[in-house]
Symmetry: none
Subunit: 413 residues, 2 copies
Amino acid sequence: VAAGVLRVAILSTGEELLRGAIADTNAQFLARTLRRAGGVAIEIRQVGDGREEIARAAGELARRCDLLVVTGGLGPTADDRTREALADAAGVGLKEDAAAAAGVAAFFRRLGREPSPSNRQQAFVPEGARVVPNPIGSAPGFELAIGPARAVALPGVPAEMKAMVNATLLPGLSAEPGALAQEERLLQVAGLAESVVGERIDAWLRRTEPPLVSVTVSAGHLTVAVTDRGDAEGRSRLAAAASELRRLLGAHVFAEGETTLAQHVVTRLRARGETVALAESCTGGLVGAALTDVPGSSQVFLEGCVTYSEAAKIRALNVPAALLAAHGAVSEEVARGMADGVRRRAGATWGVAVTGVAGPDGGSAAAPVGCVHLARAGANGVEHVRKQFPGDRGLVRAFAVTAALDLLRRGLD
Amino acid sequence: VAAGVLRVAILSTGEELLRGAIADTNAQFLARTLRRAGGVAIEIRQVGDGREEIARAAGELARRCDLLVVTGGLGPTADDRTREALADAAGVGLKEDAAAAAGVAAFFRRLGREPSPSNRQQAFVPEGARVVPNPIGSAPGFELAIGPARAVALPGVPAEMKAMVNATLLPGLSAEPGALAQEERLLQVAGLAESVVGERIDAWLRRTEPPLVSVTVSAGHLTVAVTDRGDAEGRSRLAAAASELRRLLGAHVFAEGETTLAQHVVTRLRARGETVALAESCTGGLVGAALTDVPGSSQVFLEGCVTYSEAAKIRALNVPAALLAAHGAVSEEVARGMADGVRRRAGATWGVAVTGVAGPDGGSAAAPVGCVHLARAGANGVEHVRKQFPGDRGLVRAFAVTAALDLLRRGLD
């Protein structure tokens, strides 16, 4: 993290996190939201409900960051110990706060209920803390100094936490010393292996000064993220970096910004006034599910055929039985026949077909586990690619979905 | 954490975690899986890709725990620095490992590709480390001592990490000093709202002594987990608790143990020698994708029709145009027609149909956003249910998949 940047640390508390009962989506929301607003997360931690462990983690993180956000442990029950723990970390005691007491009372008035004695515990905050109102639930938050850091404690209930971040934490954030909104450019890449991407942009990935480049990978879909400061100098560096990265990655970059391959394909089809039909075997409906995940896809996606059995391939797609017998269901010939068959059947501009061996069983010498044939039929004929994917059944299927959508989009660009 | 317990710490690396691009589901899986095997997570951390930050976090955690599991940063690119960082934390250098090199070479041989120079970097591990084979991907893991702790480094790709945990980490774990296996029983529930489940088993959820009960929820599918110690006394308490919980939840419990609704349906269909065909509208292929996620589903799943357009519903499923015109595509009548049509078309024992409004657009007074009609056609006629689901497009679709599979399984039990 460059000097002068507003360093953020996030501490999530709760035994349910350590038991693995839930994933820490609160921390993800905070990291993403605070980054856009000008902070940079340097570390995220999950600890349990214990007073000592929360106090120790808060103390350690407060020495490393400018802003520490703590979630959870503000409820009324005996295992809610964040108030005491942050008081310990700040070296102060607890006191009853009039604003917090009024907030708790108002919450129960709205519900038409009486606060219990344990709810009244929620009006206690560390000495010197300022109360952060909770517009939704009974647990007020608070903020106080822990060493050099500003610490903010918020409830663990996601809706309450988010409402309080938006109402109280974000508005003042850009005025914090060092807060500098980060600008981010995302290049979406398909059709190149991770190692090849890594080699092509190696020097960029090794940078330790802005613009910083990172790559995230999801079954054949790579997102190259470039970040830099949100001021004029940063933006200009960012534009130059994005343009050079696009050059290095070529036509494998299918889009810029926050988008998916399915969204891009739907957008392109709509812009061209074209339609698609799908014939899926090993993906079992996943390509259709990806396309129809995009609102408005009904205008371009006419029909999908999940032809898992050979009989279905023959009857629904007019794939000749002799072709299946001669080449096997997982073959270039059958993939071409399926793409052409579903295109004609649905009267679509494009027909896309996937047939492969997802495993764990069913592999052969000609078509081992991970072998997937893909075809795209259009007005100018049928394109085919054969892929050999690594991984288990789920991963092979996920790779096949990306490859099918990528094959289609290369006909649309 | 009680004395003598096997203390586990989890360190997840990757800028994408600090940017909030993804939630740390790897840590959740590890916490849950290692807990079952006898360890207790005491802390989870996410840090970025930097060599120094990973080394510092690993060193701090190694002083607090018996077993440290580090994920991510083992890939071939320049921002994969976990090998160097853990070597730093252990105070050793890197060396090329023959077993790791052989693993990388074998991975690329299986794919029929040549490893690139950067892939060969993956064969370097800290001195004194033992290589953990990667049965799926190119990145081998390794384990080494960092201070008093045993540290294990695994790839961040979830499928690879999970396969390596199951193959290498879990088998020896119960022999570690302090490991005390927890026994867990899982009741899988569908067809009951979370709040109703919560009320029925309220007293169980409030327990603070074993057996402990928790509920996780995923779009209409609930998993009730009961845990207790793995000794004779714990097991006997667990059996009594599971039996009482089954009684409270009744026929909504569709299975016990680690299974999904789709797995259960495929198992039941196979046992009965029956088959199914699907007609999907708003789910766009997700029900087929769920069924075909189960190895061996090809024996029972004959065909799926994703009939997104009205024309497809008419042509593929023989739904009369007059029925569509009279009742609209999202209606009981059309759902029944689709289920019956796809059953006849595929010659299957069962036909299951889903038609609904996933949103955000397309709602009407008769069929608002979230309204889904489901039908199951069989030898004894057609069953229908209408559901009104909360949430955004993705959640409505996920709820609809659960409801479709639940409707089918109620015909099979």
